[in-house]
Amino acid sequence: MARITAGIGCSHVPVLGYAHDSGKEQEDYFKPSFEGFDWTRKWMKEEAKPDVIILVYNDHASAFDMSIIPTFAIGTGEKFAPADEGFGPRPVPDVIGHPDLAWHLAQSLILDEFDMTMISEMDVDHGLTVPLTMMYGDVEEWPVKVVPLAVNVVTYPPPSGNRCWALGEAIARAVDSFPEDLNVQVWGTGGLSHQLQGPRAGLINKEWDNRFLDRLIGDTQELREIPHIEYLRETGSEGIEMVMWLIMRGALGKSTKALHRHYHVPISNTALGHIVLEPVDGSVPPSTTLEGNNEAAQAMID
């Protein structure tokens, strides 16, 4: 049976992809960013060894233009190529999907009353590939399969924090009912505080970011109540990406502990953070909405 063994929250700063791809990791400016991932790379390789990552990220006008904006799009394809974001695609391997798990998730989530979009053909941009690079470094092939889960956090409104957390819980239920023995991680990417636009650009809020990281740990569910306006005011217009971390957190269940935590400024326009979490009590509430839970369905079945 598949099981969620860990969750990772991680910024997806594009310049770190560039630094890696052009061999600049050891330069003074980039070194502290990459060093923060040393522990995690080792742990991924030697201990965690996930089979599949459910990788929550957002597309930055790469795969989706303004003609179609899905709130939650799950990648059901066989593979996903790195997107050309204007400088040619990143020289990293194709991302190999796990359509069996992806379709299982999609089906389970829809029955659980999440209104998913299934997408079989798309390229994936830095939002997805930079965290892979940070965790795995230079590889010929990604040593893991990936189910991409693209969340709209660009056009307002993004999903609420509460909805994201609830989606995470539903993902946990769905993984739990996947029959194959799989070691699954859930990643939430983006953030932390940053603002890329307007006269207020460059905003960084270390205190708020760290309070956010604090509250991913343990059993508090406070984060699901943070309204969009608070992310905007406190963490900059692009800090809203942090709602994606709540999908990861929700999927870890009742309580978590942190195995590793890293926060670094400056890098580009963004506060870089990442956290590695393990479920302590991974239980999630039962679905009240799964179609078959209703009496009429049961009557037909039993």
């Binding site: 006008a61 204007g86 660009v154 056009t155 307002y156 207020r200 650009a201 900059g236």
Partner: protein
């Protein structure tokens, strides 16, 4: 508890200093501006745009103001006219500018000043959370 609807939800966004939240209203106003920018993802379109910016812009049903904003690389103005930063990024990438370089032009700082601010830990949220509350 008072009930909030979409109007009060959206109204709050106008209270954030120096920030344009990319709401549906902006998304609609900027639709063709952003779709134009997206077209620059294709190398052949970048070449055509660079060869004659005005002619390329005239192929799109954008407002004159939007076209002029692109020609001027006035990103704050383009945000006001419905541009989204991830789409506008295709324009400044075509120019060979990084995010830091392009973003700094919106802040009234030079690239060096902006870079120095970021290296010192970024802009503090103190005083720029709310226009109304002045905090």
């Amino acid at each position: 508890m008072a009930k909030q609807d979409i109007h009060s939800y959206l109204a709050e966004f106008d209270d954030i200093p120096g920030t344009r939240v990319y709401t549906a209203k902006r998304a609609r106003a900027g639709y063709h501006l952003n779709q134009f920018a997206m077209s620059l993802m294709k190398p052949e379109n970048r070449e055509r745009f660079k060869a004659d910016e005005r002619a390329y812009l005239d192929e799109w049903p954008m407002t004159e103001e939007q076209k002029q904003g692109v020609l001027d690389r006035d990103f704050n103005k383009l945000l006001d006219l419905g541009g989204n930063i991830y789409f506008l990024a295709k324009v400044f990438s075509t120019d060979g500018l990084s995010f830091v370089q392009a973003v700094s032009t919106m802040t009234g700082m030079s690239v060096e000043e902006y870079q120095a601010m970021m290296n010192a830990g970024g802009r503090s949220p103190e005083g720029v959370r709310s226009i109304k509350e002045k905090n």
